[in-house]
Symmetry: C2
Subunit: 192 residues, 2 copies
């Protein structure tokens, strides 16, 4: 998705520690004029999938999920909660994953009320690198007996292993920008 | 806002401990078809305010902020981060408030890059009860030198003091549903 690549190059910042900051338009300040373009592209890629629910994760996935839902007949967006999510009660699907980014275990939960075997879910997130968040969402969707239409990612660090490991399970992963390499010296190279 | 009151009565659940759960449409599962109605109503109420930025707080404020932005010329939405937000760096406006809900101190931060004295902000959130989150956002907007157009709240527990204390400071607070009283026995009574 060329417009997205352009935005990443012009507005993203590469920091030490393999960090790509896109918080000027995606995950702290949100460019709500651009976000529907992302949703439209996910629709194009998953047009044939009869998605009836979007599953994502707080916080950065929420805006992406909502902007995409309108292209899937305004299907409900369910966002998983991170950490000790007392406010959703105990009746949850949940999983604990180790986060390499945070160097800590993190529990991800969804109330059982909002996912079921009748759901065909599109799983969305902003970033895919090691894949912890996406693995957690896939696990939760499986616990609920959902069909998984696939995973839609805004930015994949394709040089990390998360995406490949999920594709090897036979799950479709569509990333709108796939980064082949990235450094403060040479900038960003995208996969063709 | 009658449609919202109806949704709260039909889909909300009152739990012990003065808890109103609206997670079937607002803050865990999101009704993306209804959310623009909320945005439209905020626009109607703040139409004269020349808002050029929406300030909200993760996680539940994000969907509301994005759904509202389209009615304010797709102005940027900035969401404050809670807790130890390492991923936005150290150059932040931040404030620590005591959360009665969580019975803990909570730090709320926004990167200095995304708020300035040129901004006229509409501050949005899902709930207003004691007002900790809203106070934190107001404090951050003031630190940044923003003009505050006002605060838009989806559901205010008007029997708690948060809203009144903020209005007493001369800040305009518009709540789309104002709950006068609420109990598991008698249900919900809205302010007229």
């Amino acid at each position: 998705m060329e417009a997205l690549q352009k935005l990443i190059v012009t507005k993203g910042r590469i920091l030490d520690g393999d960090i790509l900051k896109v918080d000027s338009f995606l995950n702290h300040q949100i460019d709500t004029a651009f976000l529907p373009e992302i949703g439209k592209e996910f629709k194009r890629r998953f047009a044939d999938c009869e998605v009836n629910k979007i599953l994502t994760i707080e916080a950065s996935g929420i805006a992406i999920g909502c902007a995409t839902s309108q292209f899937f007949n305004y299907c409900p967006v369910v966002f998983a909660k991170k950490g000790n999510a007392r406010n959703i009660g105990n009746d949850t699907y949940h999983v604990t994953e180790h986060s390499y980014t945070r160097n800590a275990d993190i529990t991800v939960s969804v109330s059982r009320q909002y996912l079921s075997k009748d759901d065909k879910v599109l799983i969305l997130d902003d970033f895919l690198a090691n894949g912890e968040a996406l693995n957690a969402l896939i696990s939760i969707a499986r616990q609920a007996g959902c069909q998984i239409a696939g995973c839609g990612i805004v930015i994949e660090k394709a040089y990390q292993q998360g995406g490949d490991r999920i594709r090897e399970q036979g799950i479709r992963v569509e990333s709108l920008a796939r980064i082949k390499s990235m450094s403060t010296e040479s900038g960003i190279e995208f996969c063709q």
